[in-house]
């Protein structure tokens, strides 16, 4: 299996950007990019984030997964200094989230509920020029244009951009200050396939320069770009493992059929099966190799009908794999609740 990290290593360094910039003196490289320590946030009586602890090192590329309402957005808002924790502490680039933001070492691309997140009636170039002036170390304009794919768009009025174009402009806004920590919320939601491919190439390029990148996504395939995947649910980190584990999880298929046989051990013994669920006459199997499982099932002589093979629900599959890895003590950082 090829892990995203090896992929990054063999990728040709296309155009070479400026040399990686020195981290600001105030934050020695040994410190993590950010650290959540038993962070709690409540809305009234609802606990959105429940003693969440997470540490991300410099230069890591982390995918943040989790269903809506899992506490992901609240955690992100606290990471960016938009929200304060009720308990626990958050450190970003060796200081508080707000100070890190004020120092200009954090760049963020937020998700837009409505509208395209840009001021209407302005040209793209004017907006970018202004944003660059907000930072101490603005990225060169031509680098921004190339990385965000804005060739020919600088003279365009922001309200005339397509959804994907606006998203690219917001990406340029996020990296305009040459940040050391880049946060991206659903960064490719409005992009077409070509734009997505180009976007992930640039992200890999930034990663090679030592930027810490954290992105939230609902697309499991996109999480594969990360070298670490963190799943948040019920306000906690419920899974935390290398991107390669997720790659395996993507391959998992879900087999569902009806049968009279109700012997858990029989199904467990079938080739490729990672977990078994019996619901009355219905059996649901997760399998790493659906073809082999079906062959084995036929060979076993068990009568079955209504067989369906579908992609597994990824977050579950990912969790299952991490649990498995933990049990056998192989994959390092995994933790499951």
């Amino acid at each position: 299996m090829v892990s995203p990290s090896t992929l990054r290593a063999i990728e040709q360094p296309g155009e070479v950007g400026p040399a990686p910039e020195q981290p600001l003196g105030s934050c020695p490289p040994s410190e993590p990019a950010f650290r959540f320590d038993r962070v709690v946030h409540r809305y009234g009586t609802t606990v959105a984030v429940d003693h969440l602890s997470l540490e991300v090192g410099r230069g890591e590329m982390v995918a943040l997964l989790g269903p809506n309402g899992a506490g992901k957005s609240t955690s992100i808002a606290m990471l960016l200094g938009l929200l304060d924790p009720d308990a626990g502490s958050i450190e970003v680039m060796g200081t508080t989230p707000r100070r890190a933001m004020a120092m200009g070492v954090v760049g963020a691309m937020l998700q837009q509920a409505s509208g395209n997140g840009l001021p209407h009636g302005e040209r793209v170039g004017t907006v970018l020029e202004m944003v660059r002036r907000l930072y101490r170390r603005p990225a060169p304009m031509d680098l921004l244009i190339r990385r965000a794919g804005l060739e020919g768009l600088l003279g365009r009025q922001t309200q005339r951009l397509s959804g994907g174009q606006a998203q690219r402009v917001r990406f340029a806004v996020a990296i305009a200050g040459s940040p050391e920590l880049l946060f991206l919320d659903e960064p490719t939601a409005a992009m077409d396939i070509d734009a997505r491919r180009a976007f992930w190439k640039v992200i890999a390029e930034l990663g090679r320069e030592g930027l810490t990148i954290v992105f939230a996504t609902h697309h499991m395939e996109e999480a594969e770009h990360a070298d670490r995947v963190v799943v948040i649910n019920h306000g906690k980190v419920v899974a935390d493992g290398p991107g390669a584990t997720l790659k395996a999880a993507v391959a998992i298929r879900r087999l569902r059929f009806t049968t009279k046989c109700a012997d858990q051990a029989t199904f467990d013994g079938l080739a490729g099966v990672t977990d078994v669920e019996l619901r009355g006459g219905v059996v649901v199997l997760n399998s790493l190799d659906a073809d082999a499982t079906v062959c084995d099932l036929v060979r076993s002589g068990i009568e079955f009908k209504d067989l369906e093979v579908t992609g597994a629900r990824l977050e579950e599959a990912f969790l299952a794999l991490i649990r498995e890895a933990d049990a056998s003590g192989t994959a390092g950082t995994g933790q499951a609740s």
Partner: protein
Amino acid sequence: MNPLAAFGRFELFRLLRSWRFLAVTVGFPVIFYMLFLSDHSARRIIDGTVPWREYLMVSMCSFGALVAALNAGGTRLASERATGWARQLRVTPLPPWSYVGTKVAVSMVVVLPVVLLVEIVGTTFGGVPLSAAQWFELTGLLWVTAVPFAVLGVFVGFLVHAETAYPVVTVLMFVLGYFGGLFSPVSSMPAALQTTARLLPSFHHASLGIDLLAGHGLDATHWLVLLGYAVVLALVILLKYRREESLGLA
């Protein structure tokens, strides 16, 4: 360049590049002034002390300040909050309060030339002779006291939905203009409306200018009402902001 200065410059030019803003802000006060000037009551003396021409010029200065401040703050702010631009600015090195603060400041910046423009119209076409000292004092007074209008513009942009902000601004412009006595003297209004006028910032803004030209002292009530408006509106903005901040929405 300092981040705040860069942002302020961007905001100011953003406003001045808008043809709609310029047309409304320059057009309304000047056209209204011209219309009212042709009024036959030109020789009237208002409240026994102030000639109609002077009353009219000061009223139109107030109206101009009101139009400029409401249009600078209100509609754009509401739309930028709706499209997510305001939130994007929160994740830059700009201090959290600088977005709203800059809106108020830029509104104040555009109010000044509008007040001056109306005074130029007043001295050239309106038959109001102003000494250099009067120019200076009147301009300064009407400019500084336009702060509640600037805060009101931001208030509208902050509290009203993007789609309704434009109509709300338009209605406010004319309601505050008409009922504040900027289009016709308050003393010629029915008693009930006179009472209403005294509750509006537009009336007190113009009254200060008229006090100045009439040569009697500036009535402290006018200052207090204007200050009250600025403080109360700013507090509501602050509370709304704090609430959004506590939800992570600001």
